[in-house]
Every structure is written in structure tokens, then in C-alpha cells.
């Protein structure tokens, strides 16, 4: 069996960019990947392996976690790093598989839109979270978190 003939690709290499975008993208995938292993494995362990795992996840669980600023920043770091890592990965797939300029451009615009939407939405949710919204049923809330909030509110009001 002879080797299949390889047609040389007609590909014009784009001019070298001064900031070496692809080199930095390559490096970012490795650095963020390593960091995400620590962030996500901890996230999965705490949420799925401790206590009652997935069956314990509800609004009160989220309120309990986000009462600690460490978890807020943990989740924000995960959100931003994972979204850049994932969106860049998808960009590489588009480069590899999308055949026409139109498809490439459309898919990349969709990726950019999804990235912006999810990162903005996620960050706003983390940092504007209200653990004890008015009018919510007490059974849906984290009693301990709400008690500590009313406690600090009343003590800070007192001169």
C-alpha cells in the first residue's frame, strides 16, 4: 500500500502579530488549566462529596456558602478562568472545523456573545446576592445566615 498523496494546502499564513496572540493563548490554556484543576476539584468535592452531596443543594446551601467571601471569590475566579479557557477552546475548534469565512465569523460572534453574557451575569449574581430576600418563605432560606444578618443589623444600629 502506497502512502496517500498529500495535496499541499493552499494556505496563506497571516502576518505575524506583534503581540503573539496564539503563543499567549497556548500558555494561558496550560496555566489556567492547572489552576482550574485545583478550583474545580475543590468545588466538586465540597458540593458533591461532603454532607448529603447533591441532594443537599438548594438556595439555603448557596446562601451558606456565599456567606463566606472566600467562596464568592473562589466561584468568581472559577467563572472567569473557566469561561476564558472554554471559549478559547471552542475558538480553536471553530478554526479547525468551520470551512467558510461566514460560518467562522458567525460562530465566533456567538462565542463572544455567550462569553460576555455568562461572565457578566455570573459576576453580578455572585456579588449582588441577597441571602434573605423580603417576602421569601422562611423554609426556603438559610435560617442561620439570616439570623446572623439581622443580628449584625440590630447591633450596628445601636450607637
Amino acid at each position: 500500500m502506497s502512502a496517500p498523496a498529500v495535496v499541499p494546502p493552499r494556505f496563506r499564513r497571516p502576518p505575524h502579530s506583534r503581540i503573539h496572540t496564539e503563543k499567549w493563548a497556548w500558555l494561558f490554556m496550560r496555566a489556567s488549566g492547572a489552576l482550574l484543576i485545583v478550583l474545580i476539584f475543590t468545588h466538586l468535592f465540597v458540593n458533591l462529596m461532603t454532607g448529603n452531596g447533591i441532594s443537599a443543594i438548594d438556595f439555603g446551601f448557596v446562601a451558606g456558602k456565599w456567606a463566606n467571601p472566600l467562596w464568592k471569590w473562589w466561584d468568581a475566579a472559577m467563572l472567569v478562568l473557566a469561561m476564558i479557557h472554554g471559549t478559547n477552546g471552542m475558538r480553536l475548534l471553530v478554526n479547525d472545523y468551520a470551512r467558510t469565512r461566514w460560518v467562522r465569523r458567525t460562530l465566533k460572534s456567538a462565542l463572544a456573545a455567550a462569553f460576555t453574557l455568562v461572565v457578566v451575569l455570573g459576576s453580578l449574581v455572585i456579588f449582588t446576592f441577597d441571602p434573605c430576600p423580603e417576602g421569601a418563605a422562611a423554609t426556603d432560606l438559610n435560617a442561620a445566615v439570616c439570623a446572623s444578618i439581622t443580628h449584625t443589623a440590630t447591633t450596628s444600629e445601636a450607637p
Binding site: I37, F41, N52, G89, G122, A136, A137
Partner: protein, 124 residues
């Protein structure tokens, strides 16, 4: 090689590459959904609990297991890719490292699955 027309070199490395892309895409789309449903905590406790409640059934429990399996594979294979890039020994033995990825994946899943499925099927 059947047909003999494919330019793919096949072999372990290629299949690890295919699996890395597949799991990456799956986790990416999960991430979009995961952030969106978690955003419901900003709508109301009731809305969030209602939607999360939809996930609390055996079928979704198995989907979650698949997602964790995909994440753990992608993470371990990512470490293999990094070491192949920076470490000459790993570059020469990437095949052996591929097996290490699967062995570590099995160990991690053996730690995760009984506990998770216990939560899913055990009622509490």
C-alpha cells in the same frame, strides 16, 4: 488501516486528543447552563429551588456522573498534555502517560461514584 485513505495516524495519542476535545465541548456547554441556572438565586429562592428540584432524579444523577467523569478525564489528560510539552521524558513516554490518565481516572471515579449515586438513589 481500513480503507487506507485516512491521513489520521491513529494510535493512543490521537484518541486522547479526540476525547480531550469531546469532553471539553461537553463541559463548556454544561458551564453555560450551570451559570444560568445558578443565576436563579438572584430571581427568588423559590425559583432556584424549583429548577434545582427538577435535577433531583436518577436520570439527572447519571448525567451529573457523566459530567464529573468528563471533567476528571479532561483535567488528567490536560496534565498529560502539559507534561508532554515541558518535560522530555513525558514526551517520549506519552503513551504510558495515557494509560496513567485512565488508571487515575478509574481511581477517582471509584471514589466519586458510590458516594454520588448513594445521594442520588439512596433518597438522602
Amino acid at each position: 488501516m481500513p480503507g487506507g485513505s485516512s491521513l489520521y495516524k491513529s494510535g493512543t495519542g490521537m484518541w486522547m486528543w479526540v476525547a480531550h476535545r469531546t469532553t471539553g465541548v461537553a463541559v463548556f456547554f454544561f458551564l453555560l447552563i450551570h451559570v444560568t441556572d445558578t443565576a436563579l438565586v438572584r430571581v427568588s429562592p423559590e425559583a432556584y429551588n424549583q429548577v434545582i428540584g427538577l435535577y433531583k432524579n436518577p436520570f439527572m444523577g447519571l448525567v451529573e456522573s457523566g459530567l464529573v467523569a468528563a471533567i476528571i478525564f479532561h483535567a488528567l489528560n490536560g496534565l498529560r498534555i502539559i507534561s508532554v510539552d515541558v518535560w522530555e521524558w513525558a514526551n517520549r513516554h506519552q503513551n504510558r502517560l495515557a494509560w496513567a490518565v485512565w488508571i487515575l481516572w478509574i481511581i477517582a471515579m471509584a471514589g466519586f461514584l458510590p458516594r454520588h449515586l448513594g445521594h442520588v438513589f439512596g433518597g438522602e
